[in-house]
């Protein structure tokens, strides 16, 4: 599984990375967390507000810092 965090490196993006890691730990899952900071790459996902969360190339959230619980719920549904 590849999880991408879209954002220019703002504090919110770093918090989302942290929350994602916590969610993965909670579920005992392994995934590559990739930070996408290039504006052109971010735009190619069609989102307008950052940070964005992409799981296996599918955008699951934009403009919000999801909490670990939210991410756990999304990952469990996959």
């Amino acid at each position: 599984m590849v999880i991408k965090i879209l954002g220019s490196g703002c504090p919110n993006c770093r918090r989302l990375v942290k929350h994602t890691q916590q969610a993965l730990d909670q579920l005992g899952l392994e995934a590559d967390i990739v930070k996408v900071t290039d504006y052109a790459d971010i735009a190619s996902y069609g989102i307008l507000s950052t940070p964005g969360l992409v799981i296996d190339e599918q955008v699951v959230s934009a403009g919000r810092v999801l909490r670990p619980d939210d991410i756990v719920a999304i990952l469990s549904k996959k």
Binding site: Y39, A40, S49, A62, G63
Partner: protein
Amino acid sequence: MTLFETLNDLLLRMTWLDEFIRWLLVDMIGLNTDWTATGIVQFFLYDTIKIFLLLSILIFILSYIQSYFPPERTRRILAKYHGIRGNILGALFGTLTPFCSCSSIPIFIGFTKAGLPLGVTFSFLISSPLVDLASFLILMSFLGWEIALVYVVVGILLAVVGGAVIQRMNMETKIKDHAKPVPDAPVSTVAAFELTTSDRRRYAFDQVKDIIRRVWIYILIGVAIGAIIHNAIPARVIQWILGSDNFFNVAIATVLAIPMYADIFGTIPIAEALLLKGIGVGTVLAFMMAVTTLSIPSMVLLSNVIKKRLLITFITVVTIGILIIGYLFNAISFIF
């Protein structure tokens, strides 16, 4: 006293807070009202507490409203309009979007990529940091409703006209390649997912934390500068630089503002102190607008997505607009 005035004094101007701080400093601690330091401390405490209180409450309410208008939805609506109506809508939506300038670049790319007219995109981009509901209410609290209203109307006008002028210049080729329109640009609808009431409340609460964390330092610096202008710098020095006898007052205010990086909330205490020193409304408006729209960091961000010629055009158009607004309002300032 009308009900409106009573509510305004109680909730927005918070005159009770000023009296409380005076009581605390003078009656309890025993500071002398003649001292410059007493004035500085009083101004600093009053402004800081007032601005943080107002900001927290207002951002919460407004973020809750904003959660219904994610930029993805804004883009979908704006795509239907062209010409001056597009500029007007772009400017109005700019007042509703997030306060953060770090999200303005992804929004800019998202708009141009989807083929929105450049002028509409710029109307949005100019009004977004310049005008929003929180700054309107805080302006009302600090400077009175007349100036708050003028600021908002003129700010939106600047965004509409600025965008329309840039549209006329046909500079579509002056956007960098990664922001150029593409057929079937990817459009994510994820932000429009159904949010529950508790989601929105949480989003609004997160926004408050987020924005306070980002702007508190600018507010403190702004209040400190305001306190010093208000209490320590002689009125004639300020008058000599920015007063009505100096023809270049508006131009100086604009140029002084450019290296300053602050959002509108940090500039309000400075504007308040300048107005108290008798500086013209136009000069103060020009200063606030230039700080929020022309700061160097936001120019650097913009240079990521537009070429030099368009950047220079943008700066020129906005600067001319601000100068016109400044001189015009100084000329008709007898109304205030």
